[in-house]
Amino acid sequence: EAGVTQSPRYAVLQEGQAVSFWCDPISGHDTLYWYQQPRDQGPQLLVYFRDEAVIDNSQLPSDRFSAVRPKGTNSTLKIQSAKQGDTATYLCASSSTGRTQYFGPGTRLLVL
């Protein structure tokens, strides 16, 4: 069974540029999570979906961040006008409702 896949694996931007991260969850998992993991810190939840609905996006840092999951499968996390403070690894995870979360390999973002 394929795991959670993410792309790209790495991204390097100048401040002010936009970037999108893509996530394909494990087949059949209804819940999808996006985490931000700054260097040397634990993952911090940004937003999560059940099917296509946003359940909680209260931890998205600002209106520069947005996330969608239009068909309840794949998801995209977008950062408009990136800042140096956005430098981190962005992890996607999926699960069946209330069950163990499985993580993708992450996208390492560096904002110069």
């Binding site: 959670v4 819940t31 999570y33 040397d40 810190q41 634990g42 993952p43 911090q44 939840l45 999560y48 359940i55 909680d56 992890l91 699960s95 409702t97 209330g98 069950r99 163990t100 979360q101 499985y102 993580f103 993708g104 390999p105 992450g106």
Partner: protein
């Protein structure tokens, strides 16, 4: 809200010796499950252990942990550390406040030396 505390940022141990990584938590809600995740260099976190039963030992890959609600702890232990155990270890809890949502600790880096 929920919080998870891992007091050691770095734990070093010689191969073959026992190791213990500490994890304590605070929650104002009925907590469903506790986890230990392991993250190897440049890889995603992967679940190592899961427990939701008080005072029951859970084991996997030579590691074990026992949830103690009386002391709000879920420490990770191994009787004989291996070089391949060197990684980042995160303790996490999932609270009934938001079913399935994980709160992670800050992580402990385990370095095993020959």
């Amino acid at each position: 809200g929920d919080s998870v505390t891992q007091t050691e940022g770095l734990v070093t141990v010689t191969e073959g010796l026992p190791v213990k990584l500490n994890c304590t938590y605070q929650t104002t809600y009925l907590t469903i499950a506790f986890f230990w995740y392991v993250q190897y260099l440049n890889e995603a976190p992967q679940v190592l252990l899961r427990s939701s039963t008080d005072n029951k030992r859970t084991e996997h890959q030579g590691f074990h942990a026992t949830l103690h609600k009386s002391s709000s702890s879920f420490h990770l232990q191994k009787s004989s550390a291996q070089l391949s155990d060197s990684a980042l270890y995160y303790c996490a809890l999932s609270s009934r406040q938001v079913v399935g949502q994980l709160t992670f600790g800050s992580g402990t880096r385990l370095q095993v030396y020959a």
